[in-house]
Each structure stands twice: as C-alpha cells, then as structure tokens.
C-alpha cells in the first residue's frame, strides 16, 4: 500500500509553499500593518478620551503630525476611518471591525508571550511587531495554549 508521496502518508500534506509564496505573504502582512496599528490606536484613544485627534496619534507613535496626516488620508481613502478637516478622527464600521480583530489578536499574542515566561516589558515590545504576522491558524494555537476556546473567526 503506497498512497501518499513518501514516509508515513498519514495526514494530507499541503503542496509545500515556495519561498516566493512565503515572502509574498510577509509583504502582504506588512502592507496591512500600519492600518491595523492606526485603527487600534484610534479605538484605544477614543475609549480613553472620548475623541481622537491627529495630535494624539502623533504622540502615541512618536512621529510628526505630518506623517499622521498623510497616513490618515490613505486610511480615509481605504474606508477605515473618517474625519472632517480640523476635526477628530472616527472609525467607520469597517475600521471598527478591523480594530476589534486587531485588538483581540494583539492581546492574545501579548498574553501568550507572558504565558511562556517573557517579561512584561519585552512582551509588550515584541507583541507589537509579532501580531501582524500571526495567522489565524497560529492564533488558534496561541489560544489553545492559553486554555481558551478558539472563537469562530475568519480567514488568514
């Protein structure tokens, strides 16, 4: 009986990603990173202070208000948030959903790092970068490790 390809043909093994596909996914992850961090920050600041201004974001990320302004223009065009000239920043429904997902994933990554014994300050730093590269499949393993139930979320 020889069904699969080589040794122990137990589970169906997917067709082995090429390096091209791997780096393409990393590039896609990076392309979403700023959007995720910004909607997350807006949600957090709104929750804390009622409203979020561009200046709040500039302080939060420690970048110039010009950098914030340009990024907000892009995220507005992408339908994640809205803001009248000189007005405060608000999340759209799409932006709110992205913020919720990002927040949850961020928290899970942070708690996971703490659970494996990483000190709190290191965990906060590393989680901020790692989060954007954690797929749904890996997130489920993190949650399983934390002894919780994986919630019925979406794709990659």
């Amino acid at each position: 009986m020889q069904s699969g390809s080589q040794k122990t043909p137990r589970k169906k093994s997917p067709p082995a990603r090429t390096s091209q596909e791997i780096f393409a996914q990393v590039r896609r992850d990076h392309a979403m990173e700023t959007a995720e961090d910004y909607v997350e920050a807006v949600a957090k600041i709104v929750a804390q202070q009622g409203t979020c201004r561009g200046a709040d974001l500039a302080r939060h990320f420690d970048v110039s208000h010009v950098t914030v302004s340009k990024i907000l223009t892009r995220l507005k065009a992408e339908g994640l948030l809205r803001a009248r000239p000189y007005g405060p920043v608000e999340l759209t429904d799409t932006g709110t959903r992205l913020a919720s997902m990002s927040q949850q994933r961020h928290e899970t990554v942070l708690h996971f790092l703490l659970a494996i014994g990483v000190d709190k300050e290191t965990a906060r730093i590393d989680a901020e970068g790692i989060e954007h590269h954690v797929s749904q499949a890996t997130l489920k393993r993190f949650l399983a490790f934390l002894g919780q139930q994986p919630p019925p979320t979406s794709s990659r």
Copy 2:
C-alpha cells in the same frame, strides 16, 4: 514595610515602556528586516549551489532583478556583502555573522511554532515575518520551551 511602588513589591519592575518606545523598536526591527532576509538567503543559496547570483535572489524573493540590484547596493555599502560588477554575491565576515544569527533565530522560531502545534506550511509562513520581532529575551523563552539550553548570545 512599603518599598516598591504598589502591590506585591517582589521583583524590580522596569519603568514601563511608553508606546513611543515600543513603536520605535518595531521601526528598528523593520529597518533590519531586509538585511536579515537577504544575508540569510545568500548563505542558503551559497550552501546549496556554491555561488549566489542576483538572479537567484530575484527568484527566491519573487521580485525583479532591479529590486535585488538596489538592495544589494545598499547592503554592500553597509558592509554586509560584496560583489564585483556582473559577479556573484559573497557575504563579508559581518554578513556571515548576521546570517548565522538570523538563521538560528529563524530556525528556533519555526521549531517553536511547530512545537505548539502549528502546521508546517503555516509555521513556515508566519516564522518568516515573526522572526524579525523576536528579541533575545523572547528567543530564550522559545529555546527553553523547546527544552534546549539558551546559548550565551548578545543584546536585544
């Protein structure tokens, strides 16, 4: 007895990173990401084929040879590798050291993901992005989880 600041003053708690410091570190991590992936790829291709050409890198990352060419120019200027015009790419001593460290960290991250139950193809993808945000402290926890001894490495 009231020594620390608040509840259970056991370990010395570091002064709590601000969001500004956290995002600064993530930006530093991103600034090193391309260099790390490139020296790692050069080392791998040299190990496999004896020499590494720009075209090999273009195939590896699935980008144009122009993108490779510009990045190689920068990494040459940074002293990580060297190459005569129309010649193959070679790592400098500095580049070789960076490649070794990156390879080890990459492998550790990959094996860690596999160890917590992430499927192999997902692990390969996620590790490629996560690796650049894993500090020495977190890497030690990964190694500890894998039941190995943390090697005497350097800083962050």
